[in-house]
């Protein structure tokens, strides 16, 4: 059976291993997706005769807390990858475990925010602000959920690859980390746009 080439060694023409090129191509498509959503937000806002201040509907302290949690998860993710580079798989498990825990806390807070909105009968159909708020944060939360699934796999059953192909496994974690940092980066835009402006 043929194996997939360039999972560890670098291709001469691109100067990258395949997964890294793949994740950047995927992230470029994500730039287009979130770019389209942010464009929608801007066009809806400038086309609207009135627009509520985000802080009058949303909780700025909860949004700030979630931002700090995501930034912390980003740094624990990079520490997880860096631990593998140092052959410290025990530290890797610890840092990735922290990342997963922080992700769960983020989703818990987001869920609480959503439930409070629904409790006050504030649904996407209420006004354009809430429609775009639920769309943007909902799609972002789905990305967080995707990252949570991948990170949990790499923390659990996926980590067996470390025993047989350590470099390939390190590359996998690096690629998962790039995705995670991107999702964090999107939130860095979402937070001020929805909560502060």
């Amino acid at each position: 059976m043929d194996t997939i080439p360039y999972t560890v060694e670098v291709r001469e023409d691109t100067g990258l291993f395949n997964a890294k090129l793949g994740i950047w191509l995927f992230l470029a498509s994500e730039v287009m997706l979130f770019g389209a959503l942010f464009s929608s937000y801007i066009l809806l806002r400038i086309g609207s005769s009135s627009w509520p201040a985000g802080s009058s509907i949303l909780s700025v302290p909860l949004g700030t807390l979630n931002t700090l949690i995501l930034i912390s998860s980003s740094v624990s993710m990079i520490f997880a990858w860096y631990s593998l580079k140092l052959n410290r798989v025990d530290k890797y498990k610890l840092y990735l475990g922290i990342t997963i825990l922080l992700t769960l806390i983020f989703l818990g807070i987001k869920g609480y925010e959503y439930s409070m909105k629904f409790h006050h009968h504030l649904y996407p159909s209420h006004n354009t602000f809430l429609a775009i708020y639920f769309t943007l944060t909902g799609i972002h939360a789905l990305h967080i959920l995707g990252g949570l699934i991948v990170n949990s796999y790499l923390w659990g059953p996926g980590s067996r690859m470390w025993q047989t192909e350590p470099q390939r496994f390190t590359n996998r974690v690096e690629v998962a980390g790039m995705y995670w940092h991107f999702v964090d980066l999107v939130w860095l835009f979402l937070f001020p746009v929805l909560y502060l402006f």
């Binding site: 100067g15 990258l16 464009s39 520490f79």
Partner: protein
């Protein structure tokens, strides 16, 4: 020597982490100061752009990445910008007599 390099790299990541935290708190403080709307938007956007530079540059290693990655990212960003401006132009290029419905 290698151990010192590792410590240096870890400290570098921690410095980025604290910078991101401080910039987030700065943005929230600007919001609570209730400055002029455009001034606060400009200051918060500036803080966000610095955060994006730090996160993409160092956590995603863009500062030391290969040329092909930049080509991919610049192409996708240009395409996004072109499509955005195309739609935005609709607000300024109305046919004579047409108006937006609010």
């Amino acid at each position: 020597m290698e151990h010192t390099d590792q410590q240096k790299e870890m400290k570098g990541y921690l410095r980025i982490f604290f910078s991101l935290l401080i910039l987030t708190i700065f943005s929230v403080l600007i919001h609570y100061l209730r400055l002029n709307f455009f001034l606060s938007v400009a200051l918060i956007l500036l803080a966000v752009l610095v955060q994006v530079f730090l996160s993409a540059g160092y956590f995603m290693h863009l500062v030391s990445e290969k040329k092909i990655i930049f080509i991919i990212l610049i192409l996708s960003f240009m395409l996004f910008l072109f499509l955005f401006l195309l739609i935005l132009s609709g607000y300024f290029c109305n046919p004579e007599g047409a108006s937006h419905v609010h």
